[in-house]
Subunit: 743 residues, 2 copies
C-alpha cells in the first residue's frame, strides 16, 4: 500500500503512436480514474528531447521539461509504472530534419555540426550525441526484458493467419558475413575479481600512450574488448559484390545503425565507399570539401553536391550510374522513388529487414520492383549466423505456418546498459595504426589488440547484478509459462564463456525442479527452437540484448505478422515496471496517410496489451483490486476487438485507429458493467456501456466522415497539439459520452 | 592355438579388383607362407555364382564350386579370416549381360525370364533372384560392421589433399524427398515378447486373406512394417519435375537399386514412367507386348523396340525427344554417350552419387557436359534428409578441407540380415487395393496398413543379439579410438524408438567411464558430426545399415577422396573376422582401359590395408607372432608406398596396379629384413629385399613396357585365367625373384 496516488506514466513519443495517443489517452484516463489511478503523460519525443537539451537558447515559453531525464529518475522508484510507446531512434538525417523543423517553428536551436570545431559546436555535438539513435531505451530500460506473444493475439492469428511467402528449395538467398577480422573473431573477455577503475588506452607505433577512457568496474562485472578491421571489412564487401555479380543474386546490406549508433554507421559508410568505389576515388577530395559523410549514405552525396555547378552534378551522377553498370543489382527500399539500400543508414534495420525478407520467400525488391533472391550482407558474424540457419531451415522445410507454429518468447539481458547496449561511449574509430589495450588498476594489461587506422574498437560491460537478475527472470518465466528455456551462449565467444560460468552458478540459486533449461550455441539454439516451433511447441529464448532485439522481431513477424503485438515488459531492478508497446516502427507511412487522407492505420493493440499488464501489476503491487478488474476486462475487450474485426483498416473511409479506440471503449465498458467482482464498479460503467452501444452507428459515422481529405498537424516531429487533438478526436458524440462519465 | 593350418581366404570377385588379384595374390602368398599361413582363393564372382547355380546344366568340367555358399558356412567358424574384395551388385541388365557372355562361352545356362511362366522359368527366375543385387554381402556379413579411415591414409591425405569443388552460398542445389506417403511416414514397429511365428497377410476389399509370408521371430526381435504409396510417389516425382522446370534447376534421381534390389527398382520405374509420361501413355500396350520393364530404365525401351519396324522406332524415339522438350534438364551419367540418369537403375547409386555431387560443388553434369546446380531426388525421406543437411552446411560454411577436417568412422548394425538388409523377401508390390497386416501367433494384429494397387509394402527384422553386439562394438570402438560416439536414432521413427530402448539398456552392460556416448536424431547427428569435423574433431557414427552404407561413402569421399581406402572390418558374431577392401566400385572403366591400353589404374590400397588387419588379427587369435610382424611391416610398407608416390597412375605408360604391387613387395620385404623382432624372418626376407631393390629399374621397365596396346582377357564377367595371368604378371624378373624365395 502506498500513500501516493497510484500513477501510470504514459509516454508521448513520435509519429503514428504519438498521434494515436491523442485519441487513446483520454479514454485510458476515463477508465483508470474509476480505480483512482492517475495517468500522466511524459514527453520523450525526439523534438521534446532536442528542446530539453538547449534550455538556454529558448524563451521561457518555449522551454520544456526533460521528460526522459525525469523518467530515468522514476525508474529507480519501486512504484514506477511506465507505459512506453515506440519512439524514433534517430539517425543523423532524421535528427537534422527534426532540427530544421524546430528552427522553422522559431526555436533557436543550433545545427548539428558536420565537424565540431568551436567550443559551441562541440557542446552542441555532444548534446546531440545523447539524442541520436536508441537514446531513450538505455535510460528507461533499468531492468532486463521479458517479451512474449499474448495468448489472445496468438489465438487470433491461428484463426486468421497472415500471409507467408512460400520458400523454394532452389532459392539462392542467403546470409553472408565475415569469417575473420570482425568483432566476433577478435573478442576478448575478462571478469573483474574486485572493484577497480581500468583504463582503455591506445598506444601508437611510436609508443605514445593515449588514454581513451577510464572505466570504473565492479566486482563480478564482465568486460569485453573487440575490434573490426576496416581492411577486412572492405575486402569482405568487395567479395560479396563480386560474388553477387558472378551468381546473379541481388545484393543487400543489413545493419543496426540506429541502435549500434557509433559502430554501424561506420560499417555502413564502408559499404557505401566500396559499392561506389570509383565515385569516391575520383571525387573523394571534393566530397571532403563539401562535407559528404558516407556514413550517412548516398543521400549525403546527393544532398551535398546540390551546391555544385549543374555540369559537375551531372558528371558525378553519371559516375554513380556507371557504378550500377558493373556492380550487381542492389535491393531497393523504394524502387518507385529510386531509394536504394545504401541511401540512408536507418532505412534497413536488420532486426526488421531480415524477418521481412524471410517472410517474403527470402526475397527483396529490385530496381524493377520485382522480388528476387538476395544475398543479405551482415558483416559482423556474431549474430548474423542465425539468419543463415533460418534461411536453410525454410529452404528445407518450407515457410512456417502461423496456424500451427509454436512461439518463442524472450528473456533478454538488458539491465544496466549490459553488453552492446552500453558500448557507444566505449567505441572508437582509430585514426592511426597501433595497439588498443585495457589496463587494470595495477598496470596489468587485461586485453589488447593490434589495430590499424580505420579499425573500429569497442568495449562492452555487463554488471553481475544484471546477469543474476536475468537468470532469475528466465527461471521465473520458464516456471510461469511451463516452457523449456534455452540460454543462447556460444562456446566460440569469449564473452559468452564468461557468462556461462555465471549462469551455471546462478541457476543453482533457484528451484529448478521440473524445469527444462538448456545452454546452447546460437546455431544450436535457433535450430532447436525452430524444430520445436515447426511442431507447434514453444521455447523460451534467454539471450543477450542484440539477440533479444533480433529474435523479438524475427519470431513475432513470422508468428504474428508483426512485432507490434508483443507483450514487452521490463521488470525494473528497483522493483517498478515498464510496459513497452510494440517493438520499434514509428511508421512514417502512417503519418503520411493521415496527412493526405485523414486515415490513421496505426494499430494500438500493443498499447491495449501493455496497459492491461500495467494495470494488473499496479493492482498487485499497490493492492488495488479495481485495477486488477480493469486489467481483466481490458484483456477481454481486446479479444473481442480482434474477434469482431475492429482493428484499423489500411484503407481510407473504413474504420481506423480512432474507430478501434471507440470499440475498445465500448467492449471495455461492457465487460466492466457485466463483471460481478465489484458491483459499484459495474454500476459506474453501466451508463457508459449503454451510451456507447446506443451511439455506435453515430460515432462510427462521425469518425469515418472526416476521412478522405488532408489533415493538418502543423508539423511532423513537433506537431501542434491543438491541431492534432482536433484531428484525432473528431466524434463529438464519443467525446461527450466519455466526458459524461468523468463528471 | 589351433591344430588346423592357419588360413586366410582371399576372394575372387569381378572386374578391376579381380584382375588385380591375379597380380597381388601370388605376392601375398609368398609373404604369408613365411608365417605358415595358407592363402586360399574363393570365387564369388557374378559369373561364378551363376555357374554354381545351374550345376545340372553344365558338364563335369564346366561345374564350379559354390564359393559363396562355402564362405557362408565358414562365417560360422571362429577361425574364419576372410578378405573380401568389392564385387558386382548385379542389376538386371548386368545379370543379363553376364548370362549372355557365359552362353557365348558355351555354358548352357538359361536366360533370366522376363516373366516366368513355366516351372523351368520359375526355377531359373528364383535362382537368379538370389544372385541379383547385393547377394554376396548378406551371406558373408555375419556380424556388425566396423569401418574407419586408416591413420596412414588420413595422414597422407592431409599432406596431399584431393580436390574439393568450392561451394557457393548462392547454390540452388538441394535434396528433395517425400513429405508423406513414403516408408518413413508409415513405419510401424513392434518388439517380440516371445518366440513366435507371425504371418504377413494381405486382405483384399472382398475380405479374402492371402498369406504373403510366415516369419519365425525370436524373443526381443524388432519387426517393422511400412509402405510407400505409388500414387504419392508419382505425384511427388511430377512435382519435382515441375519445380525444376520452374526454377531452372537440373533434375536427378538417386536410388539404391542394387542393394534395395526389390523396392528401389520399382521406385526407379515410377520415375521413368512419370518423366516419359506421354511415351508410356501412348505406347504402353505396345511396350507390354514387347516386354519393356520401366524398372530396368529407358535402356529397356531402347533395347526392346529394336525389333520394331524402323518407322515405329523413329516415332517412339521422337516421342522420347518430345518429352525432353517440356521436361526439365536431367543429369547425365555420360553426356558424350547420351546416357541419362534414367538409363539403367544401377548407374546412379545414392551412396556414391550424392557424395560425388557434394564434392563437386553440389553439381552434376548436364546434357551439354557442363556442371550445374541440381535437385537430387531421393523419394524415401528416411535417410535423404541428411544430404539436405550436408548441402545446407556446405552452402553455409564452404566445402570441407581435407587438410584439416576430422574423420567420422562408423559402427554399423548389419548382423543377421538386420533392418533393410534382410527386407527383400518381405517386400511386396501390391496388385490390388486392400490391407497389409502382420498377425501374431494368437491371431492378434500387430500392425496394419491400408494400401492401394502398386504400393510397395515391406517388413524388416532386427534380431536382439545383433543389436546387443552392435552396442558392444560401438562401446569397444569408442574406447579403442578414444572418440565420442553417436547413436543415430530418430525419435520420429517407430523402429528407432524400439532400438533406443535396447541401446539404453545394453549400454548399461558396459563400463562407460570416460566415454562420450550420445543418442541423436539423424539431423542432429550429422550436424554434430560436421560441426566437429570442420574443427578437425572425430566422431564415431553408430548407425543402422543403410546409413552405414551412406555414411561410409559420404565421409570417406569427402575426407579421402574415395571410400576405397577405408578399413572395413566385420567382427563376426561367431568369432571370426571378415576384412572388406574398399566400399563398392568394381570400376568398369578400369577394365576398359586395361583392355584398350593394357594399363590397370585400380589401386589395391584397400587390399593392402585389409590384409594387414587380417594378418594382425590372425596373429592375435591364433598366437602367430610372425603374422603380427608381417602385419606391422605391411602397414609400414603401405605408408612408404603412399609417401613415395608409388600408387597407380591413371595414365598408360606410367606405373599402374602391377607396378604398385612390385613396390609394395619391395618395401614389405625391406621392412621384414630390417625388423629385429624375429631374426630368422629377417634373414628369410633379406635376399628378396636385396633382389627386388637391385632389379627395381628392370622390373618397372618390364611392367611398363607392355602398356600402350590392347590386352586380351577373353571375357569380361568370366575371363580366361591363363590370359589374365599373362596380362597381369608381365615381369619375368619379378616373377622369378618372388619364386626364388618360395623355393
Amino acid at each position: 500500500m502506498t500513500t501516493k496516488v497510484p500513477t501510470i506514466v504514459y509516454t508521448l513519443t513520435d509519429e503514428a503512436p504519438a498521434l494515436a495517443t491523442y485519441s487513446l489517452l483520454p479514454i485510458v484516463r476515463t477508465f483508470a480514474s474509476a480505480a483512482g489511478i492517475k495517468v500522466t503523460l511524459s514527453d520523450i519525443s525526439l523534438a521534446g528531447r532536442i528542446l530539453a537539451a538547449f534550455p538556454e537558447r529558448l524563451s521561457e515559453a518555449q522551454r520544456v521539461a526533460d521528460g526522459l531525464n525525469e523518467l530515468g529518475e522514476l525508474t529507480q522508484d519501486p512504484h514506477a509504472n511506465i507505459i512506453k510507446l515506440p519512439n524514433i531512434s534517430a539517425s543523423v538525417p532524421q535528427l537534422r530534419a527534426c532540427v530544421a523543423e524546430l528552427q522553422a517553428q522559431g526555436f533557436d536551436i543550433p545545427d548539428l555540426p558536420e565537424e565540431a570545431k568551436t567550443d559551441e559546436e562541440k557542446s552542441a555535438a555532444e548534446r546531440y550525441s545523447k539524442i541520436l539513435g536508441s537514446a531513450v531505451n538505455p535510460v528507461l530500460r533499468q531492468g532486463n526484458s521479458d517479451r512474449r506473444a499474448p495468448a489472445a493475439v496468438k489465438a487470433f492469428v491461428r484463426k486468421y493467419p497472415h500471409s507467408m511467402g512460400a520458400w523454394s528449395k532452389a532459392s539462392r538467398s542467403h546470409a553472408d558475413y565475415m569469417n575473420g577480422g570482425d568483432f566476433f573473431s577478435s573478442e576478448q573477455s575478462v571478469t573483474m575479481d574486485k572493484d577497480q577503475t581500468v583504463r582503455i588506452e591506445f598506444v601508437n607505433k611510436a609508443g605514445q600512450v593515449e588514454l581513451k577512457k577510464e572505466l570504473p568496474l565492479q566486482t563480478g562485472e564482465v568486460l569485453d574488448g573487440m575490434f573490426m578491421s576496416a581492411k577486412a571489412l572492405e575486402a569482405f564487401f568487395e567479395q560479396t559484390l563480386q560474388d553477387c555479380k558472378e551468381t546473379g543474386v541481388m545484393w543487400s546490406l543489413h545493419v543496426k545503425a540506429t541502435m549500434m549508433k557509433v559502430s554501424h554507421p561506420i560499417v555502413f559508410g564502408h559499404a557505401v565507399k566500396v559499392f561506389y568505389r570509383e565515385v569516391f576515388e575520383k571525387y573523394g577530395e571534393l566530397f571532403d570539401e563539401l562535407g559528404v559523410n558516407p556514413n550517412n549514405g548516398m543521400n549525403s552525396v546527393l544532398e551535398k553536391i546540390k551546391t555544385l555547378p549543374q555540369s559537375t552534378q551531372d558528371e558525378i551522377e553519371q559516375a554513380i550510374h556507371d557504378c550500377y553498370e558493373h556492380r550487381p543489382e542492389m535491393a531497393m527500399v523504394d524502387s518507385v522513388k529510386g531509394i536504394t539500400n545504401l541511401h540512408v543508414p536507418s532505412d534497413v534495420i536488420v532486426d526488421a529487414s531480415m524477418p521481412a525478407m524471410i517472410r517474403n520467400s527470402g526475397q527483396m525488391w529490385g530496381r524493377d520492383g520485382k522480388q528476387k533472391d538476395t544475398k543479405a550482407v551482415m558483416p559482423e558474424s556474431t549474430y548474423a549466423r542465425i539468419y543463415q540457419e533460418v534461411i536453410n531451415f525454410c529452404k528445407t522445410n518450407g515457410a512456417f505456418d502461423p496456424r500451427t507454429m509454436g512461439t518463442v518468447p524472450n528473456v533478454g539481458l538488458m539491465a544496466m546498459k549490459a553488453e552492446e547496449y552500453g558500448s557507444h561511449d566505449k567505441t572508437f574509430e582509430l585514426t592511426e595504426d597501433g595497439t588498443m589495450r585495457v589496463v587494470d588498476a595495477n598496470g596489468q594489461v587485461l586485453m589488447q589488440h593490434d589495430v590499424e587506422k580505420g579499425d573500429i574498437w569497442r568495449a562492452c560491460q555487463t554488471k553481475d547484478a544484471a546477469i543474476r537478475d536475468w537468470v532469475k527472470l528466465a527461471v521465473t518465466r520458464a516456471r510461469h509459462s511451463a516452457t523449456p528455456a534455452v540460454f543462447w551462449l556460444d562456446a566460440d565467444r569469449a564473452h559468452d564463456n564468461e557468462l556461462k560460468k555465471k549462469v551455471e552458478a546462478y541457476l543453482q540459486e533457484h528451484d529448478l525442479t521440473g524445469l527444462d533449461i538448456h545452454i546452447m550455441s546460437y546455431n544450436e539454439a535457433i535450430r532447436f527452437s525452430m524444430e520445436r516451433m515447426m511442431r507447434g511447441l514453444d521455447t523460451i529464448s534467454v539471450t543477450g540484448n542484440v539477440l533479444r532485439d533480433y529474435l523479438t522481431d524475427l519470431f513475432p513477424i513470422m508468428e504474428l505478422g508483426t512485432s507490434a503485438k508483443m507483450l514487452s515488459i521490463v521488470p525494473m531492478l528497483a522493483g517498478g515496471g515498464m510496459y513497452e508497446t510494440g517493438a520499434g516502427g514509428s511508421a512514417p507511412k502512417h503519418v503520411q496517410q493521415l496527412m493526405e487522407e485523414n486515415h490513421l492505420r496505426w494499430d494500438s493493440l500493443g498499447e491495449f496489451l501493455a496497459l492491461a499488464v500495467s494495470l494488473e501489476e499496479l493492482g498487485i503491487k499497490e493492492g488495488n483490486a479495481r485495477a486488477k478488474i480493469l486489467a481483466k476486462c481490458l484483456d477481454k475487450a481486446t479479444e473481442l476487438l480482434l474477434d469482431n474485426g475492429k482493428s484499423p483498416s489500411r484503407k481510407a473511409g473504413e474504420l481506423d485507429n480512432r474507430g478501434s479506440h471507440f470499440y475498445l471503449s465500448l467492449y471495455w465498458a461492457q465487460q466492466l458493467a457485466a463483471q460481478t467482482d465489484d458491483a459499484d464498479l459495474a454500476a459506474h460503467f453501466a451508463p457508459l456501456a449503454k451510451a456507447l452501444a446506443e451511439n455506435e452507428q453515430q460515432i462510427v459515422a462521425e469518425l469515418n466522415a472526416v476521412q478522405g481529405q488532408s489533415a493538418g498537424l502543423n508539423g511532423y516531429y513537433h506537431v501542434d497539439p491543438a491541431a492534432v487533438e482536433k484531428v484525432m478526436r473528431p466524434s463529438t458524440t464519443l467525446n461527450q459520452t466519455l466526458a459524461a462519465l468523468k463528471g
